[in-house]
């Protein structure tokens, strides 16, 4: 599960299906929501979080200034709902936005939320000593000023359609008084990181590594008390255990079912499943630069025709069906169908094995040896495909791909690496090819970093394969600076068409997230970027409660409070 890279992004296909609409009955608060998950959160500091689990938990503990609407609109502030900011005002030139902090908002330790906390959040994230992965995502923000304790003014470098989204979506606000005296390099290891203090509707109780994370309702929260009085992430060591706990009723919710589990879930009449068009796509990424010398093109993948031939030799539809059954669509390109700017009919390089063989022949890669591996000037057509060993899905894709390319005379060596090791290798551009996945954000602009020249040269850039095409970059930039939806879409379509034909990757799958839940749960809308966003509105009818729902609110006292502060 560590392999689930979480780079926050979003989309716009609205997944509807509010299972339970709110009942008028007053007694819908209380109860325990137990969530099965396959790994620990990495860290519980919003600006450092990279795992999905970490994002789920910090999103409950911390609040943003405003939250994105279910429509996932990212242009201007349409659809955004107030959180810590009860209102905001745009300056006339739109180069600054003044957020007014809700005066009832308090940190879980009792201190009020102030504008200085907002300034601190942005400033600390931009501090390179912290090494926040969110830093590049807020580069459009110049600074935050605080004319008074209730007002935080965001200053932007330039006017852009997504400036409001950049300001509020990327970072929940953290308390200055907790963090200011800790050197940034020591945040992860600090005691404060083990007892997070936020302002969200749930407060932190405990984190027992590899066992559980527990939160309780903040009953005096400025936004009102949430419905469930307790949230528990039951951390299993692996997917199999997480599934068993869900099936046995030990937990109520499992965020990702695999196709082979659906039959088993169907045997349990009390369990339900639901699909969520999460914003993720998987692909086989080629390194276009020589791993040994970045100044040179890759001896194999430097050639566009060859990359196209490899795509042609891959039966993507069958591959996706084998791994996901019906729970994924073929990927279109570096994007997801959920973006309103994505044209679902983007032209693709077709599966055509004979043509692929022909191209490879014409490029001089011919079968000469008895082992039927092609070679050119004595160099065999052979490469290493690296996958994270923690992701069975990607391991599976790699082994299947290995066999398909073998039929075209290409030798693939599958290399399973632990996730951190793989990331390090990609970061140093020291790989041949890998199976990657982007869990993307509501904004399609994330491609700038992951496939644009901007993300290619710097080692902190996410464009590991060093695909560089100024035409693609230009189309993406034009799309992002345009306020007009139709124009945005037209430019993105041009950009995607360009990159698909250049084939810097074999676009594989766009998985459809399938969650499993107990029928006693009344879910609210699941947001594609974050199914958990509306957990505070989930509830459980009084007649469906089981013993664990009636546990007292908290078995141990919440973190000690400063003298003079009182808690409910």
């Amino acid at each position: 599960m560590a392999a689930m890279r979480y780079a926050r992004l979003l989309c716009a296909l609205v997944v509807c299906g509010c299972v339970g609409t709110e009942s008028p009955s007053a007694n819908n608060t209380g109860g325990t929501l137990a969530i099965s998950t396959g790994g620990d959160p990495d860290v519980l500091i919003p600006s450092l979080v990279q795992s999905v689990q970490g994002a789920q938990i910090t999103d409950m503990i911390y609040d943003r200034l405003a939250d994105i609407g279910d429509s996932l609109n990212i242009v201007n502030d349409k659809g955004f709902t107030p959180r810590l900011a009860d209102h905001w005002t745009w300056s006339a030139d739109s180069l600054s936005i003044a957020f007014h902090i809700n005066q009832k908002a308090k940190w879980h330790d009792g201190l009020p939320v102030r504008s200085s906390d907002v300034r601190f959040t942005i400033a600390s994230t931009k501090d390179s000593a912290l090494g926040s992965p969110a830093a590049p995502l807020i580069s459009s923000i110049d600074s935050v000023s605080t004319p008074d304790s209730a007002t935080a003014v965001y200053w932007f470098h330039a006017r852009s359609p997504q400036q409001f989204y950049d300001a509020v979506y990327q970072l929940p606000i953290i308390p200055e008084h907790v963090w200011k005296n800790i050197p940034p390099a020591g945040w992860r290891a600090s005691d404060a990181a083990k007892n997070p203090v936020g302002s969200g509707q749930y407060r932190f109780v405990r984190w027992i590594p590899r066992a559980a994370v527990e939160l309780v309702a903040d009953t005096t929260n400025y936004r009102g008390a949430p419905k469930f009085s307790r949230l528990i992430w039951s951390i299993a060591p692996d997917f199999s255990t997480a599934l068993t706990r869900f099936l046995s009723g030990e937990t109520d919710f499992l965020e990702q079912l695999r196709p082979e589990n659906l039959a088993e879930v169907a045997k349990h009449p009390e369990l339900r499943t639901k699909q969520n068009h999460a914003l993720q796509y998987q692909f086989t990424q080629f390194n276009l630069r020589d791993p040994a010398n970045h100044a040179r093109p890759h001896p194999i993948f430097g050639n566009r025709e060859l990359r196209r031939a490899l795509t042609m030799a891959t039966d993507r539809a069958t591959l996706v069906r084998s791994v996901f059954d019906t729970l994924a669509l073929s990927a279109l390109g570096p994007t997801v169908r959920a973006y309103p700017t994505t044209d679902p009919n983007l032209p693709q390089i077709p599966f055509d094995l004979p043509r692929a063989r022909q191209i490879l022949d014409s490029l001089g890669w011919r079968v000469t040896t008895s082992d039927s591996v092609r070679s050119r000037n004595g160099r065999p057509l052979e490469f290493t495909l690296s996958v994270p060993s923690s992701s069975k899905v990607r391991v599976q894709l790699a082994v299947l791909l290995q066999e398909q390319l073998r039929q075209a005379g290409v030798k693939v060596n599958v290399e399973q690496l632990d996730f951190p090791v793989l990331v390090e290798k990609m970061r140093k551009r020291a790989f041949d090819a890998s199976i990657g996945q982007w869990n993307t954000q509501p904004s399609p602009g994330a491609v700038r970093g992951s496939w644009g020249t901007a993300g290619s040269r710097a080692t902190s850039g996410n464009n590991y394969g060093s695909y560089e095409n100024p035409v693609f970059d230009a189309y993406v930039d034009s799309a992002l600076s345009s306020f007009e939806p139709a124009t945005r879409k037209a430019y993105f379509t041009k950009a995607y068409e360009t990159i698909i034909q250049d084939a810097p990757a074999i676009w594989l799958a766009e998985p459809i997230q399938t969650v499993g839940y107990h029928s006693r749960l009344q879910l609210a809308t699941m947001r594609p970027d974050a199914w958990w966003a509306h957990i505070p509105e989930w509830w459980i009818p009084a007649d469906k409660r089981i013993p664990r729902d009636n546990a007292p609110p908290s078995a141990t006292p919440a973190p000690a409070l400063p003298a003079g502060q009182k808690t409910p």
């Binding site: 069958t318 066999e403 599958v414």
Partner: protein, 297 residues
């Protein structure tokens, strides 16, 4: 089964006396019905491994139909079921036998070589050298072998299979060398050695011609147990994902392939494991019978 005799004879050098104690051991243990069965079963497993390409019903690497034939439970066509890549598990277990047994035997050869040399030198030299060598040995013995291997394999990720064999062998000789040293110490003062010394034989000649042959029985027993131990260790390491690299199939590897879906793909854990238990059991029976046979001599 001449192959086994040859294997061991080849490892022990040509200076052995004509009437090999091994032949004696084999003759003796075959009198016992339980060891006869064990011998037969082990022979079948080894043969199956050796003749894998002829015996296996399918190509162990082929993915005939990745949509229609994946994750199939055991059936007539696939007695051990298929894996998530539609590969035949029986064929993989058969080819896995090859890899697992080969690693077991080769690693044991490494252990024997190092262990005998170390023990013989320590025992024969005596004095300070012996004391130092024994303390170092104690230290190695007190590091659990699995942990030591994990320490090594994590430091050197993605080892070739040859290096894996080497490490398995290099962590397996500690116990044996202690036995060898004890035997050498006891024999050093035995009459026939004293006699040889009196006749002016060189130290090296005494070591090779007189001492080593007398070590054969403990070595054969230790080798048999050693192979069993390495098979189990290798499977454990492969199960942890740091043993035999994919796509090569070993018994531990096949179990690992199905490990994240044990409940759904139970056949991927059950069958390779059964083969492993059977092999290890027969090796244990034979080791026990061998040591009985030598004691009775």
């Amino acid at each position: 089964m001449p192959w086994q005799t040859q294997d061991f004879a080849a490892t022990s050098g040509p200076t052995w006396p004509r009437e090999s104690p091994l032949a004696l051991g084999v003759r003796r243990i075959l009198r016992k019905p339980s060891s006869r069965v064990a011998f037969f079963v082990l022979g079948v497993i080894v043969l199956v491994g050796l003749l894998a390409p002829l015996v296996a019903p399918y190509n162990p690497a082929a993915q005939p139909d990745i949509v229609g034939l994946k994750d199939l439970p055991p059936s007539l066509a696939h007695p051990f079921g298929t894996d998530p890549y539609s590969r035949d598990v029986l064929s993989r277990v058969i080819f896995g036998a090859r890899v697992s047994l080969m690693i077991g035997v080769l690693a044991t050869i490494v252990s024997l070589t190092v262990g005998v040399a170390y023990g013989a030198i320590a025992g024969y030299a005596g004095g300070v050298l012996d004391a130092v060598m024994m303390r170092v040995l104690d230290a190695f013995l007190s590091i659990p072998r699995l942990l030591l291997l994990i320490g090594v394999l994590v430091a050197w990720p993605r080892l070739s299979i040859g290096a894996l064999v080497l490490f398995l062998g290099l962590t397996g000789w500690f116990g044996l060398s202690r036995i060898v040293r004890g035997q050498v110490l006891a024999l050093k003062h035995a009459e026939f050695v004293t006699a040889a010394q009196a006749l002016g034989a060189s130290r090296r000649r005494i070591l090779w011609r007189h001492l080593l042959p007398n070590l054969v029985s403990p070595i054969v027993v230790a080798a048999t147990l050693g192979v069993a131990h390495v098979i189990v260790l290798e499977a454990g390491l492969s199960y942890l994902g740091i043993g035999v690299p994919q796509p090569l199939a070993s018994w531990g590897n096949i179990i690992q392939d199905g490990a994240d879906q044990v409940a759904t793909l139970w056949w991927m854990s059950l069958f390779p494991g059964l083969f492993m238990v059977l092999t290890v059991m027969t090796l244990n029976i034979l080791a026990e019978a061998l040591s009985d046979a030598y004691e009775r001599r």
